[in-house]
């Protein structure tokens, strides 16, 4: 039988006490871990609830957008019917032929000497025209017969010149919708703007 060293015997109560503290620490640590995981779960649940709420708000915004788009279309249709009856309707469009020759700054449109439309271009609009977009510059009513269209444009050409040009076009308003497309071209090397007018029947 091996006897216990007196020193060990002296230390034993402390070891027992330490073991007790160890157990307490373990229990406390477990408690902290549990509390932390409960908090984490609660936080996750709160996050999920908030995300759900935001998702439902996004869905509602999309639904309102969709309804608004339907209304906008209805209004567009009504405007066309009430304001611009087909027989007197005249629309003027602008398109670019040469994509890089000119960067449009502004366009002013005159019908029979009266200003009817003017437009300052944003980068986005210039880019859209460059990619083949067609802008409706004007829509209105005119009586049958001969009319004059005058367009004043300011632009920067590809050779870094600022340009202001004035062009005129005579046309006859016939029954039915009249659509006049102005196509702007500025070919190298001098990038002089040329506008061609096309009447869509």
């Amino acid at each position: 039988m091996v006897g216990i060293h007196p020193a060990v015997r002296q230390v034993k109560p402390y070891i027992a006490a330490l073991q007790g503290i160890g157990k307490l620490v373990c229990v406390l640590a477990l408690g902290f871990v549990l509390a932390a995981s409960i908090t984490q779960v609660e936080n996750a649940q709160a996050d999920t609830a908030q995300a759900e709420e935001l998702a439902s708000l996004d869905r509602e915004i999309d639904a309102i957008k969709s309804d608004l788009a339907s209304l906008s279309q209805a209004l567009f249709e009504l405007e066309e019917s009430v304001l611009y009856p087909a027989d007197t309707q005249v629309a003027v469009f602008l398109a670019l032929k040469d994509k890089n020759g000119l960067a449009l700054d502004s366009v002013e449109l005159y019908l029979n000497g009266s200003p009817v439309s003017s437009h300052l271009y944003t980068d986005r609009e210039r880019e859209s025209l460059r990619k083949g977009g067609v802008q409706r510059l004007y829509i209105g009513n005119l009586p049958h017969g001969g009319h004059q269209l005058k367009v004043i444009l300011t632009a920067r050409s590809a050779n870094e010149r600022f340009i202001r040009r004035e062009m005129r076009h005579q046309f006859r308003k016939r029954p039915g919708e009249s659509r006049i497309q102005m196509t702007l071209d500025a070919a190298a090397p001098d990038y002089e703007p040329v506008v061609s007018f096309q009447e869509w029947k």
């Binding site: 915004i61 309102i64 279309q73 209004l75 087909a86 027989d87 001969g146 919708e177």
Partner: protein, 562 residues
């Protein structure tokens, strides 16, 4: 002859023409597919989705379908858009673009629906297939974007090698640079040695040089340089850090942070005066930007290290004063947010409206409120929160405008319906007699005119116009008979539109108040965190001042000791 033409009284002719000219109206699109496509394209690009949908209401070509799908997506009609996109994916010309659009939509729907893990996995494999298709069939930017998203998916799924392979197959430009920047961030987090991250950043810098959008490229380059500078500084390679940070453009969003780090690297090399110059420049920016608050402290520290203790004390005092005043600014901003709402206080008040475009210049960076807005908007969730409020705000504006227009229409239609004075159908006999007389006068004048002369030409035009008037007059009777029915139909349409508009407005108002509450909460949390940051900076400054005074006091004690 000339006098006779003058007697035709063009004004009267015009009045007659206008009277007969009012036809039934209502155009479908223009009826010319080429023109319709161009108009729809411009409308979509300029945000007029209703017009884009109108001009592509019956899409015949794939291009029209693509424009319509985009407009549908913009107006929240995802199901209809997906149907069109699916057709385009199976089509010939826009497979890549449609696949990319649909893949973007899948990310959004995953976020919105909060799908389960299995759904998420399916979503991910579906998205990968779409992105692969977009990278194979797409061109230019579409292809590069698809590659970028594929690389991002590989990277976020812990497959950096695969991400690297995808990035290596990309063309130089913005998207590849972005991909390399993200990979560099991953390497920087994982590796103890910064080489891989720095190489990735250098590749990204080379790639971004090829970005055709110069402004975007410059902004990304500045960000890359700051990241590279920080990485080199953290690894104590100060010369390399300085060489990166010196290249950060002075007009960029990353400039304040770049200047602070530049000063830090110089200071680490013992060049305190040069460091202070950089910090002095950084201090000119609002305290909202990263590095600015630290630059104020850095100046004091620089004087301290250079041996100018008096100036150091002054620098710390001015830093402390500026933090204090910033706390007041933030407190006022928080009060304003509570009073007016975050959107009004921060976004709408930041000079972002179209009317003030001419004021928008580089000084925008030096406006404290704009600076806080920019910092707040760096977060994707914040962007979404602001987008929600802005969308609803714009929608309510548009609805108010539509209501005004519809009310005017309702009034006009009511008046026209009530007005029975022009109800007599057909053309009066007197008018017909006048008209016939006019026709006879023109034909006799034409007989007398010299063929090919100006007068003959003019008379020919007048005869044509009269023929047009005759056509319109022929249809006039039938139009008048249908007038009331038409006006009634239009009036009913206006009534329905107004009712539905009111319902929509109420829904939008409710959604707006919810979106505003969410944004307010977010912004207030952000403002509080900024105030906390200022408090910490203030405490640091005061600590430095205390240290300095303690040191000066000890020195003076030493000097006075016998």
């Amino acid at each position: 002859m000339k006098g006779w033409i003058g007697n035709l009284k063009p004004a009267r002719c015009l009045a007659l023409v206008l009277l007969f000219g009012s036809g039934p109206g209502a155009m479908a699109a223009t009826g010319h597919p080429e023109l319709d496509l161009g108009i729809a394209r411009f409308a979509l690009a300029t945000g007029d989705d209703a017009a884009a949908l109108w001009y592509t209401h019956n899409p015949e070509t794939e291009h029209e379908s693509l424009i319509r799908a985009r407009a549908l997506l913009n107006t929240g009609r995802q199901n209809q858009a997906v149907a069109l996109l699916d057709r385009l994916i199976d089509g010939d010309y826009y497979r890549g673009e449609a696949a990319l659009l649909k893949s973007t939509l899948m990310v959004k729907s995953t976020l919105m629906v909060k799908s389960t893990l299995t759904d998420g996995d399916q979503n991910q494999s579906g998205r990968t297939r779409l992105l692969e298709l977009a990278s194979q069939k797409g061109h230019g930017d579409i292809r590069q974007q698809a590659f970028f998203h594929l690389a991002e998916m590989a990277r976020t799924n812990e497959r950096p090698e695969r991400a690297g392979q995808i990035l290596a197959s990309m063309d130089s430009g913005y998207w590849s640079a972005l991909g390399y920047m993200n990979i560099a961030a991953d390497y920087a987090k994982r590796d103890l040695n910064p080489s891989r991250a720095l190489i990735s950043l250098r590749v990204a810098m080379a790639m971004v040089e090829e970005d055709p959008d110069r402004e975007r490229g410059e902004a990304l380059k500045a960000q890359l340089l700051v990241r590279a500078g920080l990485l080199a500084y953290e690894n104590e390679d100060y010369d390399k850090a300085i060489s990166f940070l010196e290249k950060v453009a002075l007009e960029s969003y990353s400039t304040p942070q770049g200047l602070y780090l530049h000063g830090l690297a110089l200071s680490a090399k013992g060049k305190h005066r040069d460091a202070m110059q950089s910090w002095h420049r950084a201090r000119k920016y609002p305290l909202a930007f990263p590095g600015v608050a630290e630059s104020w402290l850095g100046t004091g520290r620089g004087y301290d290290l250079a041996g100018y203790l008096g100036q150091a004390g002054e620098a710390y005092l001015s830093a402390s004063a500026s933090y204090d005043s910033e706390r007041v600014t933030l407190r006022k901003l928080a009060d304003l947010i509570r009073e007016k709402g975050a959107f009004e206080a921060l976004v709408a008040g930041a000079g972002e409206t179209q009317a003030e475009w001419f004021l928008a210049d580089s000084r925008m960076l030096t406006q404290p409120r704009s600076a806080y807005l920019l910092r707040f908007m760096e977060n994707a969730g914040s962007q979404e929160a602001v987008r929600r409020v802005r969308d609803l705000d714009n929608m309510l504006d548009r609805m108010a405008q539509q209501e005004r227009t519809l009310t005017v229409f309702r009034g006009v239609l009511k008046e026209r319906l009530a007005d029975k004075s022009n109800q007599a159908s057909g053309i009066s006999e007197a008018f017909a007699a006048n008209f016939d007389a006019l026709v006879r006068r023109i034909s006799s004048a034409r007989e007398n005119a010299t063929p090919g002369s100006d007068n003959a030409m003019e008379l020919r035009q007048l005869a044509l116009t009269l023929a047009d008037v005759r056509d319109s007059a022929g249809r006039f009777g039938a139009r008048v008979d249908n007038r009331d029915q038409k006006l009634g139909e239009l009036s009913a349409k206006v009534g329905i539109a107004l009712t539905s508009l009111e319902q929509n407005r109420q829904r939008a108002r409710q959604a707006l108040s919810q979106a505003n509450a969410e944004l307010d909460q977010r912004v207030l949390t952000y403002v509080d965190s900024e105030a906390e940051r200022m408090t910490v900076a203030l405490e640091k400054a005061e600590q430095q001042i205390a240290h300095l005074y303690e040191y000066l006091a000890l020195q003076s004690l030493d000097r006075s000791a016998p």
